[in-house]
Amino acid sequence: MAHAVVDVTARDGRWVATIVSIGLVGATLAPVLRAPDDDGFPLSTFPMFATPQPAQVAMSYARGVTRDGRVRVLSPDHLGTGEVLQAFALIQRAVDRGESARLALCTAIAGRVAADAADAADRDVVEIRLVAGMHDAVDYLAHGAVGREVTWASCDVPRSSRSR
């Protein structure tokens, strides 16, 4: 009788383990049934580096401009995130939403630049520009060739009289 109880217990234990295993492996593989760019978390199609990518790229980004007209690359922290791709997504969203969203983002970036007392490199930035650029990525990296740029929005960096 005890042997039969052990057998039943062993069978039940394996059934539970089998269901958990099939469930989790199945859930991990299930995204293959979705469109490959239909991403999710944590169940993903893992489409990293998969989308066909032309070398010619149109993208928007933020620039800091100093009093004497020099242009600075800003850090993702000035957009409220430490991640480059998230900064990219934030700017693209604002650009897609129209003029008021672009100006709101520009103003938010300007506020962060002004408040970033620790970053001496940006203390002379007086203006923020949201820019759309069309670049050949291969030429840019290989030869430093900058493509055409157009300004979406611009705003002043609020500075106290002490910080000027």
């Binding site: 295993s21 995204p31 490959p36 978390f41 580096f49 998969a50 995130t81 430490g82 709101a104």
Partner: protein, 315 residues
């Protein structure tokens, strides 16, 4: 009669599959995975805390919930996000130590899933986190605290009926499934043209252009690879081989070790070419289910004990 023969023929490979899946393994191996994966999760969560709070401060207009976060109609207050993240760190510490495992492990898995899904709900899904979350969920459903826990005076547990091997196979299968899906996604989105090196060159160029324009760091080999693309076709083939060949790692032994090293070198190459870091595989933790992890994870404790024994003999 034909149906009976068919059922009998199906039963044989199913029985072989079950024997393989439930092949015995020591509880220390599963416990070593709990410690390594849980320990990584603790460090990862602590490192991500400032960023989790930072994205929680983004405007509601950019909130784009994914996964379980879809239950929310609007972002949570920042204090709630921070509280959940901090509580998750505490639960993960208990998970790693094997304390109150039946309660802390599922709660740690839920907290980790929630916090990292929330982090990915602001316009960008972070693929660095998927495998870690899936592994912690799997461990939370497994008897991973039957060995190597901080539990003084507790009686030893009887081995579970299903053993421990299945849970280790499950972790390994999840790792392999993730890489297989990545390879399939490339073929579905770009087709065989992904293999000629041209696509890879453009990916490297565009990714680094983004970094250059948005304040990130351009990868150390990016400019060289973009200017000298001849070897990129080989890199593309190797990448596809590693991703589509991932299920071979489940054969174990030498296959598993070769594949794990190949996948690790793939990630090292991605750092050098694109400055894109996948810390979980780069730390080797993602591949531990494919090897006998108890020898690696238990080494510091064995070394410490052997020092004590040598000192006692010397006295």
């Amino acid at each position: 009669m034909g149906e009976l023969r068919c059922a009998a023929e199906l039963a044989q490979p199913m029985s072989r599959l079950a024997r393989w899946w439930f092949a015995p393994a020591p509880p220390e191996r599963l416990a070593a995975l709990r410690i390594a994966i849980g320990g990584f999760a603790v460090l990862w969560m602590i490192a991500r805390l400032p960023e989790v709070v930072s994205v929680a401060r983004l405007p509601a207009a950019v909130f784009a919930p994914v996964g379980v976060i879809r239950v929310l109609g609007a972002p949570l207050p920042v204090i709630a996000v921070a509280a959940i993240a901090v509580a998750t760190v505490g639960l993960l510490v208990a998970f790693t130590a094997g304390l109150g495992y039946r309660v802390t492990a599922p709660l740690a898995a839920i907290g980790l899933l929630w916090t990292l899904a929330y982090r990915s709900s602001w316009g960008m899904v972070f693929h660095t986190d998927n495998l870690l979350v899936l592994h912690v969920i799997a461990l939370a459903l497994a008897p991973a605290a039957d060995a190597w826990t901080i539990r003084r005076g507790a009686p030893a547990r009887a081995a579970p009926a299903a053993g421990y091997g299945w849970a280790i196979k499950l972790l390994a299968a999840i790792t392999c499934a993730a890489y297989l899906l990545a390879g399939i996604a490339k073929l579905r989105l770009a087709g065989l043209s992904w293999l000629d090196g041209g696509q890879l060159r453009n990916q490297i160029a565009v990714d680094n252009l983004r970094k250059a324009l948005l304040g990130g760091t351009v990868a150390p080999l990016a400019r060289f690879l973009v200017s000298h693309p001849d070897g990129l076709a080989v890199c593309s083939l190797l990448t596809m081989g590693i991703e589509l060949g991932a299920p071979l790692a489940l054969l174990g032994g030498r296959f598993a070790r070769i594949w794990a090293w190949g996948a690790w070198w793939f990630h090292a190459g991605v750092v050098l070419a694109m400055n894109v870091w996948f810390p979980y595989p780069l730390a080797g933790v993602a591949f531990l289910p494919l090897i006998e992890a108890e020898h690696l994870v238990g080494w510091p404790a064995r070394w410490w004990r052997s020092r004590g024994m040598r000192a006692a003999r010397a006295r």
